[in-house]
Symmetry: C2
């Protein structure tokens, strides 16, 4: 059995390009005792993967050139030599960027009964949804009725942040990269105010959307967005630092916000986090989010590209704004 | 009765200069019913006052040109027409930068029995000591045995931060502005490692002093210090943002740390605060700190200038490193 797999042919410099990636065919070994063979249904591309393409120490080790990349994937068991897994089981793994694989059972999480299409477990019901949930409620310590600004609001994380905040009776402001996304946020997701960050001054947009200032700024973007949000925070505001997608392709370190000292007088908290810091909340998240998605209280959208050959394109698209909601590579074709 | 008082003759631009300040003699009115007349024993100059000399909205209103400045002072009641205050009582007030004044009693805090010289209630037992206490223990959430770096470590706040951390069995690293201060930190206050920040690369000094990284960075300085500390933080480190004295005389906004995104993967918390956010802990602070000072577990030093004519010089000295420990203006002469 063969699997086509994606690796780095070279480390991207600045914006990743198609020829930084290579697809090759690999033989998938038969499962040995205790092992399971999986065919992926879909795989995830996520902005954090850009950091792993740089050769430096970080919270996850860097990808190596010529080695198959990895990342979130949902697959179906096709052969099992482990009693906990049966043919047809849906499993979640970190063995993305490939069509199929054989692993020890402990590398797999059985999804059980799905309450949504499998791909949702890479988005709203998976890592990005969990990131929004813990980032807003735990790190951001959101209180009912507050005013929340989320950047990258039409992305996989941002779109869920805004909707959770609406469930908590908050006023929600979002920034996104084009008019269609802005319209989706306000017309479909219930954001109170959204704007295209290309279209004008961030500070004026924030004043318009949140005349009384911000209690929480959920940062997916970094750079100018963080600086503008700092200028507009209310006393004791919280800023969960989730990502900085505007800076991931920088080739030189970029200066930080020039107004960070405002945090002193206002008593602001800037707190970085990654989702794995909160894995003790996995079950609570899945229960809450499956309820909200099933009831329609939280909606989601996916941008789906078909086939492993388009995985690099999907990944690059994260940085050009090609996705609305979660970017997914479908591997069932 | 006359009081000499200090006002701004003009707003300082960059480093404050002598002629930004003016001293004038003012008639002190007799106390009316309910009022108290006070002669100041000593007054405080503090770095935060620099911010109030700029005409902008902040957590305290700006000083006005030609109006007597204010700030912390300890005085003695000389005439009282309020039953709660008697001649000879020591009182704390915000009526510094003057020799004497008459006010409503509610503007005064009676100090009761002093367990240290009056000036200590402007330093280790006053606002700077309280700032160190709540900043390290509440904002920094210090745990026994952690590694702490404090900048401006020979200042009124920093010198107390380091000693509280030593009481909590922490490893303590401090930066200061000259060799005498560095020697005071390690030889007299028990710091594990201290260095002159003029003398070389901050990052290498931190690697030397804290080879395993920092759990808490108490920031009094901002700028390069904050950036270097961020590079050296351990996972889940906390950074109480207390001050940014290196930036207070900037005439243009200065870029922030270029490595703030490190907070994401490491789960760092940067939290700004001012001491008044924690006034519910005033009594606990005074009790703890009086105990520590009386037992000699916490030592303090003062740099004392005599007379209201030297108040401006004392203030300017905060930015040139003229003080070791608390800068005090003695007004008993």
């Amino acid at each position: 059995m063969e699997s086509r797999e994606v690796s780095l042919s070279q480390r991207p410099v600045g914006m990743p390009k198609d020829d930084d990636f290579a697809v090759a065919s690999v033989e998938v070994p038969d499962p040995q005792d205790g092992q399971v063979q999986v065919r992926n249904v879909c795989m995830s591309v996520d902005p954090y993967m850009r950091g792993r393409m740089v050769d430096r120490k970080s919270y996850v080790p860097p990808f190596q050139i010529g080695e198959t990349l990895n990342g979130g994937a949902i697959g179906k068991v096709i052969r099992s030599r482990n009693e906990d897994f049966a043919e047809g089981d849906y499993v979640q793994s970190n063995y993305g960027w490939r069509e199929a694989f054989t692993v020890e059972a402990k590398a797999l999480t059985k999804l059980g009964d799905l309450t949504a299409p499998a791909s949702a477990y890479l988005g709203v019901l998976g890592m990005p949804g969990m990131t929004a949930y813990v980032g807003l409620l735990e790190v951001g310590a959101l209180k009912d009725g507050e005013t929340v600004f989320v950047s990258g609001a039409a992305g996989a994380v941002g779109s869920i942040v805004g909707q959770i905040a609406k469930l908590k009776d908050c006023r929600v402001i979002g920034s996104a990269g084009n008019a269609d996304k802005v319209s989706w946020l306000t017309n479909d997701l219930g954001f109170d105010y959204a704007f295209d960050y290309h279209g004008g001054d961030l500070l004026n947009q924030l004043r318009e959307g949140a005349p009384d200032g911000l209690d929480v700024y959920f940062d997916n973007v970094g750079g100018d967005h963080l600086q503008a949000a700092l200028f507009h925070m209310r006393p004791f505001g919280r800023l969960p630092l989730c990502g900085a997608i505007s800076m991931y392709n920088d080739t030189e370190p970029r200066p930080g916000p020039n107004n960070l000292t405002m945090a002193i007088g206002l008593g602001l908290t800037l707190r970085g986090f990654i989702v794995s810091h909160f894995s003790h909340l996995n079950e609570q998240f899945r229960s809450d989010m499956e309820t909200w998605v099933s009831s329609g209280e939280i909606k989601y959208q996916e941008t789906i590209l078909d086939g492993i050959d388009r995985a690099a394109e999907a990944f690059i698209g994260l940085f050009t704004g090609a996705n609305t909601g979660k970017m997914i590579v479908n591997l069932t074709g």
